[in-house]
């Protein structure tokens, strides 16, 4: 039976408005974070008749009476622009303390402290929380009529705090986080040709991928240790141009090595969590892409998608306990997200009846998927759990929002 957690309202340590406001946000965000990982939270209807919580000396009999097994107490104050959050967990049956922490941060982002508290609580339940993770995506919200501008954005995993990463009013697409959270690599047409850039988002600089100078890079993925990049490459012109193959290089684009050499079109590489294998899309003929897997040296190439005539955009689940790959599949004229379990070849459909969906990406703990869906002519980012239950459209802001890439668990 699931452990029942009570998360009563955060208590403002001082009665001032900033503390009350911060507390309100913290309670709301913390509960949502815990629900996202399927924690069982005691309904506040059950305990609103209880005497007021004394945060420093809770009456555990009260909390026992509403069926809570764990009591989460939060207290906050805002002092000189700094938000201090105190988090305490009690085992209700014994009254013992399970956890006591204090976090501080700039007062303008109480959501971050709530996310940090959530991740601490989830760790006790043996869940690697993703509440502080971010999702990169592409948005056309900056374009003016008659122009195309697609910029890379990042947002919190719940859609809050969208921020623009690129500002060049060109086409920027396919963002891919480095697993260490330091950088986002993306394809940009700012020079007129597709080029792979890396945005070092905390340093405010861009670098160009060296191996892209002799041709075009169209899709790419960092290795789990962030040191290498797998990418689809087509020479600039001449012999071999037009035929994409999978290559691997250092993450700065030095020492490129070709992994596939067929006449088929190979693209969309994604690494296994160990870094020992790479999945990719191979089109033996136009209109019939399929998902393949190979060793990271290019050997043992084999098809792993078993259903459907059109499968593209693989994303390998980064959690080692789930050996599976999400991808986009054409099913009866629609595009849907599906997952193939590599241990038994079984496929499950994740999206249904939401218009066209594509570009799946896993949460860093492998428990959730994000992707983009077109509904009534507008593309938006959606998330769901790894079985496809409870699909939620994220409030990712205006415009078409596409091609999400879910970053690592705790970015700085």
């Amino acid at each position: 039976m699931a452990t029942r957690v009570a998360v009563p309202d955060c208590v403002p340590r001082t009665g001032d408005e900033p503390a009350r406001e911060a507390c309100k946000t913290i309670s709301e965000v913390l509960r949502k974070d815990l629900l996202f990982e399927e924690m069982t939270i005691v309904s506040d209807n059950l305990y609103k008749m209880l005497p007021p919580l004394k945060p420093d000396a809770p009456n555990f009999e009260d909390w026992k009476s509403v069926g809570a097994q764990v009591l989460v107490i939060t207290k906050a104050d805002v002092t000189a622009g700094v938000l201090n959050l105190e988090l305490r967990l009690h085992h209700v049956a014994s009254g013992d303390s399970m956890l006591a922490r204090r976090f501080s941060n700039k007062a303008d982002n109480p959501r971050y402290l709530a996310h940090q508290a959530a991740d601490e609580i989830l760790a006790l339940a043996n869940i690697r929380g993703v509440a502080r993770s971010k999702i990169a995506f592409v948005s056309d919200r900056d374009q003016v009529k008659g122009k195309v501008a697609k910029e890379i954005y990042i947002m919190d995993y719940d859609g809050a705090n969208p921020r623009r990463v690129t500002v060049n009013r060109s086409i920027n697409m396919l963002p891919a986080w480095s697993p260490d959270g330091k950088a986002i690599a993306y394809i940009s047409y700012r020079t007129g040709m597709p080029e792979l850039f890396t945005a070092w988002i905390y340093e405010g600089r861009n670098t160009m991928f060296a191996a892209g100078r002799s041709g075009k890079v169209y899709a790419h993925s960092f290795s789990p240790d962030s040191k290498r990049m797998a990418y689809a490459f087509s020479p600039a012109a001449g012999k071999g141009s037009g035929d994409m193959d999978i290559w691997v290089a250092n993450s700065d684009g030095t020492q490129p090595q070709r992994l596939t050499e067929t006449a088929a079109s190979d693209t969309a590489p994604t690494w296994s969590p160990t870094g020992r294998e790479i999945a990719f899309t191979r089109s033996l003929s136009i209109g019939a892409p399929q998902i393949y897997v190979m060793d990271s040296e290019g050997l043992n190439q084999r098809r792993v998608s078993t259903i459907g005539t059109y499968n593209d955009g693989p994303a390998w689940n980064p959690a080692k306990e789930f050996t599976e790959i999400a991808y986009t599949s054409r099913l009866e004229g629609h595009f849907e997200v599906a997952v193939v379990d590599l241990t038994n070849g079984q496929t499950r459909q994740i999206t249904q009846g939401r218009g066209n969906c594509e570009a799946p990406t896993w949460s860093p703990n492998g428990r959730h998927l994000a992707f983009c869906c077109e509904n009534r002519g507008r593309w938006q980012i959606a998330v769901t759990d790894r079985m496809g239950r409870d699909v939620e459209i994220l409030p990712s802001g205006p415009g078409d929002n596409k091609y999400p890439d879910w970053g690592p668990a705790a970015t700085q």
């Binding site: 452990t3 013992d96 689809a232 994409m244 595009f335």
Partner: protein, 187 residues
């Protein structure tokens, strides 16, 4: 590790997957701090830095420098007509070949002009597949033009996939116009 005895989550975990869970537990749980509150945590939010512009709905990340891009959507004006394709195909139609024969003469009359063969797709299908398809369309045009005598050194291939449609709208009329190779001679 007080959490071992009194953590109601751990009893479940321990039953389900003892060894693995324990390994994670020892690294995943903070040490007991009793009721004492530890000092200030090390929370560090993402710093928005000093962007020079403000994005709608949020601030910019870091101090990304503008790079001179001006934004575009309609194809650059070109004396060479687009070549169109069937759905899910990079094969040249008879009509396309007729156009390309005229283009070959134009290249002969304009020595020194270089062209980028920009492959495009309609909106249907996935992003990576369409990038590959646009690249194949570009290559098909490259192959034809070089086969009728245009030097390959004057041509480069590339794809926009489905990212830069010529016309908006969903329907065969729009899609047919968007499945194209455009001849960019502006570079």
């Amino acid at each position: 590790m007080i959490v071992l005895k009194n953590n109601p989550w751990m009893s479940v975990v321990a039953r389900v997957a003892a060894c693995v869970a324990m390994a994670v537990l020892f690294t995943g749980c903070p040490p007991k701090r009793g009721n004492a509150v530890s000092g200030p945590g090390t929370a560090r939010p993402v710093e928005p830095g000093t962007g020079y512009g403000t994005a709608p709905g949020g601030s910019d990340v870091g101090a990304m420098q503008p790079d001179g891009g001006t934004g575009y959507n309609i194809d650059s004006p070109s004396p060479l007509a687009d070549v169109n394709f069937e759905y899910d195909s990079a094969a040249l139609t008879p009509a396309a070949m007729e156009i390309l024969q005229r283009h070959a003469l134009w290249f002969k009359d304009h020595p020194g002009v270089r062209a980028t063969l920009q492959g495009h797709c309609d909106e249907r299908g996935t992003v990576e597949y369409n990038l590959a398809l646009g690249e194949q369309r570009s290559r098909a045009v490259y192959d034809y033009l070089t086969s009728v005598g245009v030097p390959g050194t004057r041509l480069s291939t590339m794809s926009f996939g489905k990212e830069r449609p010529l016309v908006m709208g969903s329907g065969e009329e729009s899609w047919a116009k968007n499945r194209r190779v455009h001849f960019d001679i502006s570079g």
